[in-house]
């Protein structure tokens, strides 16, 4: 579904990602882990088009993604739930979800989809008319996830959905994501600091360090890898 080959990207002509290659098959759940500053968010922005590419290739469903203007990529079925939530603070919760549903598929399935989102994340139904900026961090993360789902995506990209949340809330968000994946079989690409969880349920994992993929493979193999165990799992 998503094929990234030798992708180079960065800020003001300084490369942060060096020849990164990564593949997500339809229906898979792929995790990307790595230390702070490794370039995980930059990789996501490269896919969504908010950082400029400096080399390599990205294909989504066979289409050359780097030729698609950034604002058209969501319409192809890519939903990006960005780091730090980035909800529309001044818009109501419902309006945030509506903004997600601007894609053709999102429009077509809007009412059914909304019901489903409210069923997964009932707090959004309770807060539907409240400005998203007034919600708690955990609730805002639900808004960001709900907004991504409202586009009826083919690929959902989540950048550290647990960031800045209390452990119990982070667990709850993670459980929700797993529930949504169980219910829909949605293809997921997840960036997470909580490496144990990220590698527990995913099909494949990538370890990114200073802009390079240093390790990749099925998650059970990564979990058993000594380097991963030492550096990320504290074992």
């Amino acid at each position: 579904m998503l094929e990234i080959r030798n992708f180079v990207a960065g800020y003001s002509q300084v490369a942060v990602l060096h020849e990164v290659s990564l593949t997500v098959e339809a229906g898979q759940f792929v995790s990307v882990v790595g230390p702070n500053g490794a370039g995980k968010s930059t990789l996501f922005k490269g896919i969504s088009g908010t950082v400029a590419p400096m080399g390599g290739e990205i294909r989504f469903l066979g289409e050359d993604l780097l030729k698609v203007p950034p604002s058209r990529r969501a319409h192809l079925g890519i939903a990006h739930v960005p780091e730090g939530r980035q909800v529309f603070a001044s818009l109501s919760v419902l309006e945030n979800l509506e903004m997600g549903a601007r894609t053709p598929e999102g429009r077509r399935t809007w009412s059914r989809n909304l019901e489903q989102i409210f069923a997964w994340l009932p707090v959004l139904a309770q807060r539907r008319d409240q400005p998203a900026g007034t919600l708690s961090g955990g609730e805002q993360q639900m808004v960001a996830i709900g907004r991504g789902l409202a586009s009826a995506p083919k690929l959902l990209m989540l950048d550290e959905p647990s960031m800045g949340l209390a452990p119990a809330v982070a667990d709850f968000v993670f459980d929700k994501l797993m529930e949504i994946r169980r219910d829909t079989g949605l293809t997921l690409l997840l960036v997470e600091q909580r490496v144990a969880e990220a590698l527990q349920f995913a099909d494949r994992g990538y370890v990114l360090e200073t802009g390079r993929v240093v390790l990749e493979g099925p998650c059970e193999r990564l979990r058993a890898d000594d380097r991963v165990r030492q550096a990320y799992l504290g074992m």
Binding site: S12, S48, G49, T50, P69, P70, S71, R72, R73, A74, H75, A79, H80, P82, Q86, V87, F88, A89, S90, L91, E95, E98, M99, G100, R102, T103, P131, G133, T134, R147, S151
Partner: protein
């Protein structure tokens, strides 16, 4: 009539005049609120966009408005007809120039591109002012309609008190209020309005929603230009104008937007309304030459006492 009644009558008269002129100022401020308040673009040329709106309305009036709709209705039709042309003008300005110093382009610039905006729009203002002087001449122009000098009388009430309501201003105020309500509904309720708000709120996340942020900004800039220009066209039925008239009004606009709370469209309307009232009431005690000075002093007081404005809700812009 006793002396207090004479005073009361002139105060009431000033309040009525202030409300009518305030509604037009409010419309003018709402135009700037779209650009400065919501899109965060410093636009020094806003007053000159308004000046262009006045000339556009004038030429629409003498060109076809007066013949087709009569001199009374024609002036308002002309002001309304100038608005779409000014939308196109603002849209093109953004496409050609403003875009280079705003939105995603300004991300790496000093002060988010505000310095560049200041200098660019100051340049645009100078070009427009001097261009207008070359094309239209330096003399005063006005849109003459019979309504400008016609009034409805209210009264007599009390002990022989009476108020007169200038017809041109009543119609202009009514048009202003209608346009603001329509704009407000558009921003609150329609998909276009919501995507404009989203693009202003969080440009990066808007891209992830599939919103063309550049186009949203351009649309907002065009709307802001058209609205201020419409206010200019409405004002032109009562006030003669010239190529440098923008300077007088740009102060009112920024004062109104700040007073209303930056980022709030309805707040900007109330801000403009307040300035209309202050201006008319101050004319009771001060010579007319000092009217603009009053606005300056008032503006300073606002900035000192309540920099967050009076009318805007904080959550509208976080």
């Amino acid at each position: 009539m006793s002396e207090t009644q004479v005073l009361l009558e002139s105060v009431l008269q000033a309040i009525v005049a202030g409300l009518f002129i305030g509604a037009i100022y409010g419309l003018m401020c709402v135009g700037l609120a779209m650009i400065f308040g919501i899109m965060r673009v410093i636009n020094f040329a806003q007053g000159d966009f308004m000046m262009l709106g006045m000339y556009a309305a004038y030429f629409a009036f003498v060109g076809f408005g007066a013949q087709l709709f009569g001199t009374a209705a024609g002036s308002f039709v002309a002001a309304l007809a100038a608005a779409p042309a000014m939308f196109a003008f603002g849209w093109a300005m953004h496409r050609l120039l403003i875009r280079r110093v705003t939105g995603t382009q300004s991300a790496g610039m000093e002060a988010e591109g505000h310095y560049a905006q200041l200098i660019l729009t100051l340049g645009i203002a100078l070009v427009l002012q001097n261009g207008a002087m070359i094309l239209f001449g330096a003399h005063m122009v006005s849109i003459r309609t019979p309504l400008s000098s016609a009034a409805w009388f209210v009264g007599p009430f009390g002990d022989g008190m009476a108020l007169f309501l200038n017809k041109a201003r009543i119609v202009a105020a009514a048009v202003s209020v209608a346009v603001i309500l329509a704009l407000w509904l558009m921003i609150r309720r329609t998909g276009l309005g919501k995507s404009l708000r989203a693009a202003a709120d969080n440009p990066e996340a808007s891209v992830y929603m599939g919103i063309d942020v550049d186009r949203a900004h351009r649309t907002a800039f065009g709307l802001g230009t058209a609205i201020t220009a419409l206010a200019g066209g409405l004002l032109a039925a009562n006030y003669p104008f010239h190529p440098f008239v923008g300077l007088e009004y740009v102060i009112i606009m920024y004062a109104g937007v700040v007073l209303g709370g930056i980022g709030s469209v309805l707040g900007a309307f109330w801000g403009g309304m307040t300035i209309g009232l202050v201006q008319q009431l101050s004319a009771l005690v001060l010579p007319t030459q000092l009217q603009n000075a009053t606005i300056f002093v008032f503006f300073l007081l606002i900035v000192i006492l309540r920099p967050q404005g009076f009318f805007g809700r904080n959550v509208e812009r976080v």
